[in-house]
Protein backbone atom coordinates (compact mmCIF):
# COMPACT_ATOMS: atom_id res chain seq x y z
CA UNK A 1 0.00 0.00 0.00
CA UNK A 2 2.79 2.41 0.90
CA UNK A 3 3.85 4.17 -2.27
CA UNK A 4 7.42 5.09 -2.80
CA UNK A 5 8.42 8.63 -3.60
CA UNK A 6 10.72 9.79 -6.29
CA UNK A 7 14.03 10.70 -4.63
CA UNK A 8 17.15 12.49 -5.80
CA UNK A 9 20.52 13.47 -4.38
CA UNK A 10 22.22 16.84 -4.28
CA UNK A 11 25.75 16.92 -2.83
CA UNK A 12 25.36 13.83 -0.67
CA UNK A 13 22.01 14.98 0.73
CA UNK A 14 19.00 12.98 -0.42
CA UNK A 15 15.68 14.67 -1.09
CA UNK A 16 12.18 13.33 -1.36
CA UNK A 17 11.55 14.81 -4.80
CA UNK A 18 7.78 14.36 -4.82
CA UNK A 19 7.26 16.01 -1.46
CA UNK A 20 9.74 18.78 -2.14
CA UNK A 21 8.18 19.63 -5.49
CA UNK A 22 4.69 19.58 -4.00
CA UNK A 23 5.81 21.86 -1.14
CA UNK A 24 7.36 24.29 -3.60
CA UNK A 25 4.27 24.10 -5.82
CA UNK A 26 2.12 24.87 -2.78
CA UNK A 27 4.26 27.89 -1.96
CA UNK A 28 4.08 29.12 -5.55
CA UNK A 29 0.29 28.73 -5.64
CA UNK A 30 -0.17 30.48 -2.29
CA UNK A 31 2.10 33.32 -3.28
CA UNK A 32 0.51 33.80 -6.71
CA UNK A 33 -2.93 33.74 -5.12
CA UNK A 34 -2.02 36.36 -2.54
CA UNK A 35 -0.04 38.42 -5.03
CA UNK A 36 -2.78 38.51 -7.64
CA UNK A 37 -5.48 39.22 -5.07
CA UNK A 38 -3.63 42.17 -3.56
CA UNK A 39 -3.05 44.06 -6.81
CA UNK A 40 -4.96 47.33 -7.23
CA UNK A 41 -6.59 47.22 -3.84
CA UNK A 42 -9.36 49.74 -3.31
CA UNK A 43 -11.12 51.12 -0.27
CA UNK A 44 -14.32 49.71 -1.63
CA UNK A 45 -13.39 46.04 -2.12
CA UNK A 46 -14.71 43.86 -4.90
CA UNK A 47 -14.05 40.47 -6.45
CA UNK A 48 -10.65 39.01 -5.64
CA UNK A 49 -9.94 41.62 -2.99
CA UNK A 50 -13.05 40.53 -1.12
CA UNK A 51 -11.77 36.94 -1.15
CA UNK A 52 -8.33 37.76 0.25
CA UNK A 53 -9.83 40.13 2.81
CA UNK A 54 -12.19 37.41 3.94
CA UNK A 55 -9.22 35.10 4.57
CA UNK A 56 -7.31 37.86 6.38
CA UNK A 57 -10.34 38.55 8.51
CA UNK A 58 -10.94 34.87 9.20
CA UNK A 59 -7.35 34.38 10.39
CA UNK A 60 -7.62 37.54 12.48
CA UNK A 61 -10.69 35.99 14.09
CA UNK A 62 -8.74 32.85 14.98
CA UNK A 63 -5.89 34.92 16.42
CA UNK A 64 -8.00 37.32 18.43
CA UNK A 65 -9.88 34.50 20.12
CA UNK A 66 -6.57 33.17 21.48
CA UNK A 67 -4.06 36.00 21.76
CA UNK A 68 -4.13 39.31 23.62
CA UNK A 69 -5.60 41.95 21.34
CA UNK A 70 -2.39 44.00 21.12
CA UNK A 71 -0.42 40.95 19.94
CA UNK A 72 -2.82 39.95 17.19
CA UNK A 73 -1.31 42.13 14.47
CA UNK A 74 2.21 40.88 15.33
CA UNK A 75 1.34 37.29 14.46
CA UNK A 76 -1.29 37.99 11.83
CA UNK A 77 1.09 37.38 8.94
CA UNK A 78 2.36 34.12 10.47
CA UNK A 79 -1.16 32.81 11.01
CA UNK A 80 -2.23 33.93 7.54
CA UNK A 81 0.70 32.23 5.83
CA UNK A 82 0.33 29.01 7.84
CA UNK A 83 -3.39 28.86 7.15
CA UNK A 84 -3.09 29.39 3.41
CA UNK A 85 -0.12 27.02 3.13
CA UNK A 86 -1.81 24.17 4.98
CA UNK A 87 -5.12 24.74 3.20
CA UNK A 88 -3.63 24.80 -0.30
CA UNK A 89 -1.42 21.81 0.56
CA UNK A 90 -4.48 19.88 1.73
CA UNK A 91 -6.37 20.73 -1.46
CA UNK A 92 -3.53 19.84 -3.83
CA UNK A 93 -3.74 16.10 -3.15
CA UNK A 94 -7.43 16.08 -3.98
CA UNK A 95 -6.93 17.32 -7.52
CA UNK A 96 -5.35 14.18 -8.88
CA UNK A 97 -3.03 11.32 -8.14
CA UNK A 98 -0.12 10.34 -10.35
CA UNK A 99 1.41 6.97 -9.68
CA UNK A 100 3.90 5.46 -12.12
CA UNK A 101 4.67 1.86 -11.27
CA UNK A 102 5.33 2.02 -7.58
CA UNK A 103 6.37 5.66 -7.45
CA UNK A 104 3.98 8.49 -6.62
CA UNK A 105 4.49 11.84 -8.33
CA UNK A 106 1.56 13.84 -7.04
CA UNK A 107 0.18 13.98 -3.51
CA UNK A 108 -0.66 16.42 -0.77
CA UNK A 109 2.56 17.57 0.87
CA UNK A 110 0.67 17.43 4.17
CA UNK A 111 0.04 13.71 3.63
CA UNK A 112 3.75 13.28 4.31
CA UNK A 113 4.53 13.07 8.06
CA UNK A 114 7.86 14.80 7.53
CA UNK A 115 6.24 17.92 6.17
CA UNK A 116 3.64 18.20 8.93
CA UNK A 117 6.16 17.40 11.67
CA UNK A 118 8.55 19.98 10.25
CA UNK A 119 5.76 22.54 10.23
CA UNK A 120 4.81 21.63 13.80
CA UNK A 121 8.45 21.80 14.91
CA UNK A 122 8.78 25.18 13.26
CA UNK A 123 5.68 26.43 15.07
CA UNK A 124 6.86 25.17 18.48
CA UNK A 125 10.35 26.63 17.97
CA UNK A 126 8.77 29.93 16.99
CA UNK A 127 6.51 29.99 20.07
CA UNK A 128 9.56 29.44 22.30
CA UNK A 129 11.51 32.03 20.34
CA UNK A 130 8.78 34.66 20.73
CA UNK A 131 8.51 33.86 24.43
CA UNK A 132 12.26 34.43 24.88
CA UNK A 133 11.94 37.63 22.88
CA UNK A 134 9.15 38.88 25.11
CA UNK A 135 10.33 37.87 28.59
CA UNK A 136 14.10 37.46 28.18
CA UNK A 137 15.85 34.11 28.68
CA UNK A 138 15.36 33.96 32.46
CA UNK A 139 11.79 35.21 32.33
CA UNK A 140 11.05 32.67 29.62
CA UNK A 141 12.25 29.75 31.75
CA UNK A 142 10.40 30.94 34.84
CA UNK A 143 7.23 31.77 32.96
CA UNK A 144 7.14 28.68 30.79
CA UNK A 145 8.33 25.92 33.10
CA UNK A 146 8.40 26.97 36.77
CA UNK A 147 4.98 28.59 37.04
CA UNK A 148 2.44 28.03 38.48
CA UNK A 149 4.33 25.25 40.38
CA UNK A 150 7.93 24.17 40.02
CA UNK A 151 7.54 20.41 40.22
CA UNK A 152 5.60 20.36 36.98
CA UNK A 153 8.67 21.50 35.04
CA UNK A 154 9.57 18.03 33.63
CA UNK A 155 6.01 17.58 32.38
CA UNK A 156 6.06 21.00 30.84
CA UNK A 157 9.35 20.33 29.05
CA UNK A 158 7.99 17.03 27.80
CA UNK A 159 4.88 18.84 26.66
CA UNK A 160 6.92 20.82 24.14
CA UNK A 161 7.81 17.60 22.34
CA UNK A 162 4.37 16.07 22.55
CA UNK A 163 2.97 19.32 21.17
CA UNK A 164 5.13 18.88 18.08
CA UNK A 165 3.87 15.33 17.68
CA UNK A 166 0.18 16.09 18.22
CA UNK A 167 0.23 19.14 15.98
CA UNK A 168 2.06 17.35 13.20
CA UNK A 169 0.52 13.90 13.37
CA UNK A 170 -3.07 15.17 13.54
CA UNK A 171 -2.69 16.94 10.23
CA UNK A 172 -0.74 14.06 8.70
CA UNK A 173 -3.24 11.43 9.85
CA UNK A 174 -6.26 13.19 8.42
CA UNK A 175 -4.66 13.91 5.08
CA UNK A 176 -2.92 10.55 4.73
CA UNK A 177 -6.15 8.65 5.30
CA UNK A 178 -7.88 10.84 2.76
CA UNK A 179 -5.22 10.10 0.19
CA UNK A 180 -5.29 6.37 0.86
CA UNK A 181 -9.02 6.23 0.37
CA UNK A 182 -8.81 8.37 -2.77
CA UNK A 183 -6.26 5.87 -4.14
CA UNK A 184 -8.37 2.87 -3.13
CA UNK A 185 -11.49 4.22 -4.79
CA UNK A 186 -9.52 5.08 -7.92
CA UNK A 187 -8.07 1.55 -7.95
CA UNK A 188 -11.54 0.09 -7.58
CA UNK A 189 -12.74 2.21 -10.50
CA UNK A 190 -10.09 1.00 -12.92
CA UNK A 191 -10.18 -2.63 -11.81
CA UNK A 192 -13.50 -3.46 -13.48
CA UNK A 193 -15.26 -1.57 -16.24
CA UNK A 194 -18.74 -1.71 -14.69
CA UNK A 195 -17.40 -0.29 -11.43
CA UNK A 196 -16.09 2.84 -13.15
CA UNK A 197 -19.17 5.09 -13.00
CA UNK A 198 -19.93 3.98 -9.45
CA UNK A 199 -16.36 4.73 -8.42
CA UNK A 200 -16.50 8.19 -10.02
CA UNK A 201 -19.53 9.13 -7.92
CA UNK A 202 -17.92 7.68 -4.80
CA UNK A 203 -14.69 9.56 -5.54
CA UNK A 204 -16.60 12.81 -5.92
CA UNK A 205 -18.31 12.32 -2.58
CA UNK A 206 -15.03 11.50 -0.89
CA UNK A 207 -13.30 14.48 -2.51
CA UNK A 208 -16.05 16.79 -1.28
CA UNK A 209 -15.66 15.38 2.21
CA UNK A 210 -11.88 15.73 1.95
CA UNK A 211 -12.24 19.40 1.01
CA UNK A 212 -14.23 19.80 4.19
CA UNK A 213 -11.63 17.86 6.20
CA UNK A 214 -8.81 19.84 4.62
CA UNK A 215 -10.47 23.14 5.52
CA UNK A 216 -11.18 22.02 9.08
CA UNK A 217 -7.64 20.73 9.54
CA UNK A 218 -6.03 23.94 8.33
CA UNK A 219 -8.29 25.85 10.72
CA UNK A 220 -7.38 23.48 13.57
CA UNK A 221 -3.67 23.69 12.76
CA UNK A 222 -3.62 27.50 12.92
CA UNK A 223 -5.84 27.55 16.00
CA UNK A 224 -3.60 25.12 17.90
CA UNK A 225 -0.46 26.94 16.82
CA UNK A 226 -1.96 30.12 18.23
CA UNK A 227 -3.05 28.37 21.42
CA UNK A 228 0.53 27.16 22.00
CA UNK A 229 1.78 30.64 21.20
CA UNK A 230 -0.67 32.18 23.64
CA UNK A 231 0.48 29.76 26.37
CA UNK A 232 4.03 30.91 25.84
CA UNK A 233 3.19 34.59 25.71
CA UNK A 234 0.75 35.04 28.58
CA UNK A 235 2.09 35.81 32.01
CA UNK A 236 1.42 32.92 34.40
CA UNK A 237 0.15 33.87 37.83
Amino acid sequence: MQEKSWTFEVGGLWFNGTTCLMVILTCVIVFSLVFVCTRNMALKPKGKQNAIEWVVDFVRGILSSNLASKEVSDFHLLGFTLFLFVFVANMLGLVTKIVVGDTSYWKSPTADPLVTLTLALLVIILTNFFSVKKFGLKGYFVNSYLKPVGFLAPVKILEEFTNVLTLGLRLYGNLFVGEILLGLIAGMGISKLWMFSFAVVLEMIWQAFSIFIGGIQSYVFVTLAMVYLAHKLEVEE
Binding site: T7, I24, M41, P45, Q49, V56, F80, T81, L114
Partner: protein, 170 residues
Protein backbone atom coordinates in the same frame (compact mmCIF):
# COMPACT_ATOMS: atom_id res chain seq x y z
CA UNK B 1 6.60 5.39 8.61
CA UNK B 2 9.18 5.15 11.36
CA UNK B 3 12.10 4.79 8.99
CA UNK B 4 11.32 8.37 7.98
CA UNK B 5 12.38 9.50 11.38
CA UNK B 6 15.85 8.00 11.24
CA UNK B 7 18.35 10.64 10.23
CA UNK B 8 21.67 9.96 8.43
CA UNK B 9 21.12 6.72 6.63
CA UNK B 10 22.00 6.13 3.04
CA UNK B 11 19.28 7.48 0.75
CA UNK B 12 17.38 8.83 3.70
CA UNK B 13 15.48 11.91 2.66
CA UNK B 14 14.46 13.18 6.10
CA UNK B 15 16.99 15.97 6.53
CA UNK B 16 16.73 17.18 2.95
CA UNK B 17 12.98 17.29 3.03
CA UNK B 18 12.95 19.11 6.36
CA UNK B 19 15.33 21.70 4.99
CA UNK B 20 13.23 22.19 1.86
CA UNK B 21 10.00 22.52 3.85
CA UNK B 22 11.49 24.98 6.33
CA UNK B 23 13.13 27.04 3.61
CA UNK B 24 9.99 27.14 1.49
CA UNK B 25 7.80 28.23 4.38
CA UNK B 26 10.24 30.93 5.47
CA UNK B 27 10.63 32.13 1.88
CA UNK B 28 6.88 32.12 1.39
CA UNK B 29 6.47 34.19 4.55
CA UNK B 30 9.13 36.64 3.44
CA UNK B 31 7.70 36.92 -0.06
CA UNK B 32 4.16 37.53 1.17
CA UNK B 33 5.46 40.08 3.67
CA UNK B 34 7.45 41.89 0.99
CA UNK B 35 5.00 41.84 -1.90
CA UNK B 36 1.49 41.55 -0.51
CA UNK B 37 1.17 42.08 3.22
CA UNK B 38 1.91 45.79 3.06
CA UNK B 39 -0.94 46.35 0.65
CA UNK B 40 -3.38 44.36 2.82
CA UNK B 41 -2.41 46.12 6.05
CA UNK B 42 -2.40 49.45 4.26
CA UNK B 43 -5.86 49.04 2.85
CA UNK B 44 -7.22 47.76 6.17
CA UNK B 45 -5.77 50.72 8.08
CA UNK B 46 -7.03 53.12 5.45
CA UNK B 47 -10.51 51.68 5.65
CA UNK B 48 -10.43 51.76 9.43
CA UNK B 49 -9.43 55.43 9.33
CA UNK B 50 -12.04 56.23 6.73
CA UNK B 51 -14.76 54.54 8.73
CA UNK B 52 -13.81 56.31 11.94
CA UNK B 53 -13.58 59.61 10.06
CA UNK B 54 -16.96 58.99 8.49
CA UNK B 55 -18.48 58.24 11.87
CA UNK B 56 -16.92 61.38 13.33
CA UNK B 57 -18.08 63.59 10.51
CA UNK B 58 -21.52 62.02 10.59
CA UNK B 59 -21.75 62.85 14.28
CA UNK B 60 -20.57 66.37 13.58
CA UNK B 61 -23.10 66.88 10.82
CA UNK B 62 -25.79 65.50 13.06
CA UNK B 63 -24.97 68.04 15.75
CA UNK B 64 -24.83 70.77 13.12
CA UNK B 65 -28.17 69.72 11.73
CA UNK B 66 -29.61 69.71 15.22
CA UNK B 67 -28.43 73.25 15.93
CA UNK B 68 -29.63 74.38 12.50
CA UNK B 69 -32.99 72.88 13.25
CA UNK B 70 -33.22 74.72 16.55
CA UNK B 71 -32.12 77.95 14.90
CA UNK B 72 -34.68 77.52 12.19
CA UNK B 73 -37.43 76.84 14.69
CA UNK B 74 -36.59 79.96 16.70
CA UNK B 75 -36.31 81.99 13.52
CA UNK B 76 -39.66 80.70 12.40
CA UNK B 77 -41.16 81.77 15.72
CA UNK B 78 -39.49 85.19 15.37
CA UNK B 79 -40.76 85.69 11.88
CA UNK B 80 -44.22 84.68 12.94
CA UNK B 81 -44.35 87.32 15.68
CA UNK B 82 -42.82 89.79 13.27
CA UNK B 83 -45.42 89.04 10.68
CA UNK B 84 -48.18 89.49 13.23
CA UNK B 85 -46.62 92.80 14.23
CA UNK B 86 -46.38 93.94 10.63
CA UNK B 87 -50.00 93.08 9.98
CA UNK B 88 -51.04 94.86 13.19
CA UNK B 89 -48.99 97.91 12.27
CA UNK B 90 -50.43 98.15 8.82
CA UNK B 91 -53.93 97.72 10.20
CA UNK B 92 -53.32 100.53 12.68
CA UNK B 93 -51.88 102.73 9.99
CA UNK B 94 -54.76 102.03 7.67
CA UNK B 95 -57.26 102.80 10.43
CA UNK B 96 -55.53 106.06 11.21
CA UNK B 97 -55.37 106.94 7.56
CA UNK B 98 -59.01 106.15 7.09
CA UNK B 99 -60.00 108.35 10.02
CA UNK B 100 -57.99 111.30 8.80
CA UNK B 101 -59.19 110.86 5.22
CA UNK B 102 -62.77 110.66 6.42
CA UNK B 103 -62.40 113.78 8.54
CA UNK B 104 -60.79 115.63 5.68
CA UNK B 105 -63.52 114.57 3.30
CA UNK B 106 -66.18 115.54 5.71
CA UNK B 107 -64.58 118.95 6.23
CA UNK B 108 -64.28 119.49 2.51
CA UNK B 109 -67.84 118.48 1.97
CA UNK B 110 -68.98 120.94 4.66
CA UNK B 111 -66.91 123.66 3.10
CA UNK B 112 -68.40 122.93 -0.31
CA UNK B 113 -71.83 122.97 1.18
CA UNK B 114 -71.21 126.31 2.87
CA UNK B 115 -69.85 127.78 -0.31
CA UNK B 116 -72.79 126.52 -2.30
CA UNK B 117 -75.20 128.02 0.21
CA UNK B 118 -73.58 131.45 0.06
CA UNK B 119 -73.38 131.19 -3.73
CA UNK B 120 -77.06 130.41 -3.90
CA UNK B 121 -77.88 133.30 -1.59
CA UNK B 122 -75.82 135.70 -3.68
CA UNK B 123 -77.43 134.48 -6.89
CA UNK B 124 -80.83 134.82 -5.36
CA UNK B 125 -80.08 138.36 -4.32
CA UNK B 126 -78.80 139.19 -7.75
CA UNK B 127 -81.83 137.65 -9.36
CA UNK B 128 -84.14 139.66 -7.15
CA UNK B 129 -82.35 142.85 -8.01
CA UNK B 130 -82.52 141.98 -11.73
CA UNK B 131 -86.21 141.18 -11.55
CA UNK B 132 -86.91 144.35 -9.66
CA UNK B 133 -85.17 146.35 -12.36
CA UNK B 134 -87.02 144.50 -15.06
CA UNK B 135 -90.39 145.03 -13.38
CA UNK B 136 -89.70 148.71 -12.92
CA UNK B 137 -88.71 149.18 -16.52
CA UNK B 138 -91.62 147.13 -17.69
CA UNK B 139 -94.11 149.16 -15.63
CA UNK B 140 -92.48 152.33 -16.93
CA UNK B 141 -92.80 151.05 -20.43
CA UNK B 142 -96.36 149.96 -19.92
CA UNK B 143 -97.18 153.28 -18.37
CA UNK B 144 -95.45 155.03 -21.23
CA UNK B 145 -97.37 153.00 -23.69
CA UNK B 146 -100.64 153.71 -21.96
CA UNK B 147 -99.79 157.35 -21.69
CA UNK B 148 -98.83 157.53 -25.36
CA UNK B 149 -102.10 156.07 -26.37
CA UNK B 150 -104.13 158.46 -24.21
CA UNK B 151 -102.31 161.36 -25.62
CA UNK B 152 -103.40 160.54 -29.17
CA UNK B 153 -107.06 161.36 -29.93
CA UNK B 154 -107.31 159.36 -32.97
CA UNK B 155 -105.87 156.43 -31.42
CA UNK B 156 -108.19 156.86 -28.53
CA UNK B 157 -111.23 156.84 -30.69
CA UNK B 158 -109.89 154.00 -32.76
CA UNK B 159 -109.43 152.06 -29.62
CA UNK B 160 -112.90 152.74 -28.56
CA UNK B 161 -114.09 151.74 -31.99
CA UNK B 162 -112.28 148.61 -31.89
CA UNK B 163 -113.82 147.85 -28.53
CA UNK B 164 -117.29 148.61 -29.87
CA UNK B 165 -116.67 146.48 -32.92
CA UNK B 166 -115.65 143.86 -30.55
CA UNK B 167 -118.86 144.15 -28.64
CA UNK B 168 -120.83 143.91 -31.85
CA UNK B 169 -119.15 140.86 -32.83
CA UNK B 170 -120.07 139.33 -29.53
Amino acid sequence: MFNYLVVAEAQNTTLGTMIVVTLSIVLLLAAIKKFAWGAIVNILTQREEKISNDIDSAEKSKIEAESLKEKRASELLNSKTEAVKIVQDSKDYAEKNRQSLLAEARQEANQLKEKAKTDIAVEKELAFVGIKKDVASLSVEIAAKILKKELNEETHSALIDSYIEGLDNK
